[in-house]
C-alpha cells in the first residue's frame, strides 16, 4: 500500500531541504559571486550579495599575473594522464579477475585495496628521494605516475565491480563462435563495459584533479597543477579576495560539472562496493 503524502508536508519538506541545501552550497556560491566583484566590493562592509557592478577583471588579472592557463594545463595533463595510464593497466587486470577468477582473486583484490591505506606521509621522504635521483621532481611525468599508483586500486576495484555484472555466458558464446581472446575483448566485452569504464574514468579524474598531498610536495614552479597554484594564495599581498575567488572558481568549475554526472558511481566507487 503506497502512502499518500499531504501537499502540506511535501511543501514543508521542500522548503526545509532547499534551505539546508543552499546553506551547504553557500560557500561555493559566495566564491562564484565574489569572483565577479571588484576587490573593494569583495571586502565591503556590509557585504554585498547580488547588487554590485559585475566585472570580469579578476579573471583577466589572474591569467595575466600568474599565467593561469599553464597551471590548468598541468592539472589536465596530470589528472587525465594518470587516469588513462591507470585504465590501461587496470582494464586487463580487472577483466581477468572478473572472468577468470582463481582461488587468489579475492586476496589480490583486498591486498590492492590495502595499498590504498598506506598513509602518504609515511613514504614521503623515500618518494621524494627517488624523485630527486630520477630527475622527476617538479615534472608532470612524475606526478602522472604517482597519482596513477595511488588511484590504481580504486580503478581496479571499480572496473572489477562493473565487469562482474556482465554475464559471462555472452563471452562464452563468443568463444564458441570462434572469437579469439583479442576479438572477445575488443568486440564483445568493450562495448558492454563502456559505461563502467566511463564512470571509473570520471571518478578518477576528479580524485586526481583534487589530490593535494603529492601535488603540493612534489612540484615547484614548472609542473604545479591548480591545487598548488591556489595554495600560493595562502600568503597573499594586498587585496586578493576577488582574485582568489576567480582563480578558485576556474579551478573547481570543471570538476563540479563532472562531479554532477558521476554522483551515482561515487558511492560504489568510493566504498569499494561495500555500500551499493
Amino acid at each position: 500500500m503506497a502512502r499518500s503524502v499531504t501537499t502540506r508536508r511535501k511543501t514543508l519538506n521542500t522548503l526545509f531541504a532547499w534551505a539546508v541545501g543552499l546553506l551547504i552550497f553557500f560557500p561555493i556560491l559566495w566564491t562564484i559571486l565574489t569572483s565577479f566583484k571588484t576587490e573593494a566590493q569583495a571586502i565591503s562592509d556590509p557585504p554585498v550579495f547580488l547588487f554590485f557592478d559585475w566585472t570580469l577583471e579578476n579573471y583577466a588579472a589572474v591569467q595575466e599575473r600568474s599565467n593561469y592557463m599553464r597551471f590548468l594545463w598541468n592539472s589536465v595533463i596530470i589528472a587525465g594522464g594518470s587516469t588513462l595510464l591507470g585504465l590501461i593497466i587496470a582494464i586487463p587486470a580487472a577483466w581477468s579477475m572478473a572472468f577468470v577468477p582463481s582461488r587468489h582473486t579475492k586476496d589480490i583484490l583486498l591486498w590492492m585495496l590495502s595499498t590504498k591505506m598506506l598513509p602518504a606521509v609515511g613514504v614521503l621522504y623515500p618518494i621524494y628521494l627517488i624523485f630527486i635521483r630520477m630527475g622527476l621532481l617538479d615534472t608532470k611525468t612524475g606526478l602522472v605516475v604517482v597519482l596513477m599508483l595511488i588511484n590504481l586500486p580504486i580503478i581496479v576495484w571499480m572496473l572489477y565491480t562493473y565487469f562482474k555484472e556482465i554475464p559471462g555466458e555472452i563471452l562464452e558464446a563468443a568463444r564458441m563462435d570462434g572469437a579469439t581472446l583479442k576479438e572477445e575483448i575488443l568486440y564483445v566485452l568493450t562495448p558492454m563495459a563502456i559505461p563502467g569504464i566511463a564512470s571509473t574514468l570520471l571518478l578518477n579524474v576528479i580524485l586526481a584533479w583534487n589530490e593535494a598531498f603529492w601535488t603540493l610536495n612534489l612540484t615547484a614552479a614548472k609542473a604545479a597543477p591548480l591545487t598548488a597554484f591556489i595554495a600560493s594564495y595562502s600568503s597573499p599581498e594586498g587585496l586578493f579576495y576577488a582574485k582568489l575567488s576567480a582563480a578558485s572558481t576556474m579551478a573547481i568549475a570543471p570538476i563540479l560539472i563532472l562531479g554532477w554526472f558521476s554522483q551515482k558511481q561515487l558511492v560504489s566507487g568510493l566504498t569499494f562496493g561495500a555500500v551499493k
Binding site: 552550497f25 587486470a93 581477468s96 583534487n210
Partner: protein, 288 residues
Amino acid sequence: MATQQSRSAARIMMAPAVILLLGWMLVPLTMTVWFSFKKYLPLRGGDLGWTGFDNYVRFFTSSAFWPSVQATLVIVGGVLAITIVFGVLLAALLNQPMWGRGIVRILVIAPFFVMPTVSALVWKNMFMDPVNGLFAHLWKLFGAEPVSWLSEASLESIILIVSWQWLPFATLILLTAIQSLDSEQLEAAEMDGAPPLKRFGFITLPHLSRAITVVVLIQTIFLLSIFAEIFVTTQGAFGTKTLTYLIYQRVLESQNVGLGSAGGVYAIILANIVAIFLMRIVGKNLDT
C-alpha cells in the same frame, strides 16, 4: 569454463597492476623502515650511521608527539561526529518526498568536488578572517566582537572546514543505504502506531549501521592524513599540528629524515589498525 590457456593469459594480464602496486608498496616502505633506524640528516652530514630504536624513542618522547596525537584525535573525532550525525539527518531529509530533490542533492554533494586547497582558503579568508570575513560581519551585526577563528578556535575551525568537505560523502552513502530500506517494514510499523521518532530509531537507524561503519572507517583513513587544509591555513600553529603534519615537518622542513621516518612507521601502524576493520567488512561483501 576457464581453460589452462585462458588462465595463464589472465595471469599475464594481471601482472602489470600487481607488480606496480607491489613495487609502490614495498620499495618506499622498506626505505622508510631503513631510514627510521638511522641518524640521517641530508643537510647536516647525511647518513650518520645506525641508531637502533633511538628515533622511535625520541619521536615518542618528544614534546610535540602527544599534542599531535591529541590534535589528530580531536580533528578525526570531531569531523566523524559531525558528518555522521548530520549525514544521517540529511539523508533522512533527502529521502522524504519533495520538489526538486535532484537539485537539492546536487547542492548538498557539491563541496565534495571542491579541491582541498580551495575550500581551506575560501573558508580561511572569506569566512573566518577576523576583519573582512563573513563571520566577522555577522558577529558585528549582532554586536559581538569578531573572533579570529584560526588562532583562537583553531581546532574547531579546521573541524568545520573538513566537515564541510566530508559531509557530502557521508550523506550520499547513507542516502544510498536508506533508499535500500524496505518501505513495507516502515509502513507496517506506522500502521501499528509507532511514532516517526520510534520508526527512525528502531528501523531506519539499525538498517544504517553497516553503512555508518563503512563511512566511519573510510573517513578515518582519509582524515588521519589530511594535509592541505592545515598547510594553507595554520601551517600547524595554534595546536593544529596533527601527526601527519608533524611527520611532514620533521622530514621535509627540518630534514631530520631518521626521526620523521620513525614517525612515519607509527602513522603506518595506526592506519593499518583502522584498515584491518575496513578490509574485513569489504571482504565479507565480496563473498556475496
